[in-house]
Amino acid sequence: MHMADALLSPAVAGAMYVASGTAAGVSIAKMRKEEEQHKLPIMAVTAALVFAGQMINYTIPGTGSSGHLCGGMLLSALLGPYAGFLSMIVILAIQCLFFADGGLMALGANCWNMAFYGCFVGYFLIWRPMMKNKWFSKMGTKAAQRIKIIIASVIGCVVTLQLGAFSVVLETSLSGITELPFGAFCALMQPIHLAIGLVEGLITAAVLVFVYEARPELLREVDTSEGRGVRAKGSVKTVVIVLAVVTALVGGALSLLASSNPDGLEWALFGNKEAGYSENMGLDEEEFGIDSKVAEGAGAVQEKTSFLPDYAFANNDTAAGTTVSGIVGSLMVAGVAALVCFLGGFFKKRKRASKESGTD
């Protein structure tokens, strides 16, 4: 879900920097107030752990694929939302700088999409309420805690990933980068991240339950009143099996339904015309190439676009910088670039040759 610089306009990237920066400022202030500065080494090691943990492939039972860990929920459960958020920022910065995963200007947006939702929404709206409530208390504290941890992790990961994916769509669309209509883009992104969120949630739950068994005091807001070492019912495995059955049933029912309905993507493209996707996209019709009145249905669109080539602004220099003379000029720039490469290689070789002859 890491966004590249290319997917954002400077205005949107700047706005996201301001948003994430504010959240970071609040986090730093909170940490200072609660005198949690001493946590720095623990934050660093946990952040490094989450980074390293994402290199582990977890086999998803029954499928050939594998999943990964969700950092935001794990960090906020271990460190709390403020320290967790700062740790996530650092992980994202390192991923962007050293692994080219993301972008320098997109960092603000990435922090928001992945760290803000995971840490703040995940902690305050899901983790803490879940741990505080009295559900399942009939089963004994231990079993209740385990089930609550699993539920909070799964719901937390699914919700935060959905919010994150939606933000990616929103930010890209606001930047006017893609021609993909807003609805269709959502229809592409949300279901994929629903599946990812489920798997990530289960993996995160497995890790957190293990931590709870061994050292419950490491987890935030968790009731540690009952002694450790007591094995309880309600393992991750049973939850996985139950979820797998539910998913298979729901998936089967949905696919039956879908086969009788038009394709979901198509529906998203052309079905919600009332919402005015061209407006959602911030595009005017001329740029978009499809007259929304004519685009009542898929067939009409095809008809329209197939004779649209007549409608060209081939000689419009102002609207677009791409003209024939521009292309010729670009080719010449490419030539210069190639020349620079050639010269660089030439001088390097000569330098190496002179160095070798010098040492002999």
């Binding site: 390293a52 582990i56 521009g326």
Partner: protein, 267 residues
Amino acid sequence: MNKAEKSLYEIREMDDLAAGDSPVHRLWPLSKFFVTIAYIITVMSFHKYDLNGLFVYVLYPVVMFQLSGVPVRTFFRKMRIVLPLVIAVGVFNPVFDRDILLYVGKVGVSGGVVSMVTLILKGVFALMASFILVATTPIDDLCAALRMIRVPAVIVSLLLLTYRYIGVLTEEVAIMTNAYHLRAPGQKGIHISAWGSFLGQLLLRSMDRANELYASMQLRGFQGNFYYREGKKARFADILFLVLMIAVFVFLRFFPLAAWIGKLVVR
């Protein structure tokens, strides 16, 4: 080599590159940082059809790659992570935007194709610029530069410490993964029965390690702040580089150089 080993190798590779010596390496980190930001912002700001205006910007990374001696191959290997999303977003443009924008000879090129190419180029250029920054600047210098522009000390210290510990923990994950796979041949990943304990064990050990680390830091007088040695001083050349490059970027943003050069030849 498993995934963790690969990423260890990548970190090491970047460290080695940054430790090199070239005119680009010797530049003041802060001016490199600002030039990179200015480059990325101008590249991002191009209109989706303005392929020619954007293309001129290829010259900056190309020249920097050559001056610094950083291998381009390393960069292209890194692009595999983030480029797929850019391409996935861009690949629909030709489908939705079919207005013919210009004719090259008799072949019409649609707006969607132009905007797709522009989008991908933007992605590559922006990545190139930040890659050059990191490949020619050691992390300590980069963090010192961040401190100079008043990025909060907590974040900078956390960045340095995390970077230090990523190497340690990733190596541990690499060893654990290898050990697991040697005992469980033919398995692609971690089996569900070990989902929790695999990382959980490492987590518990790391927590102990972190507490020991904190204790040892405190014994050496850590008060919540790192102290940095006096960073590199800016030379005249560094300031000149900064001002000149930003001026060039702004100039090229508004002056269609490619079209101008082309006109010299075409008509």
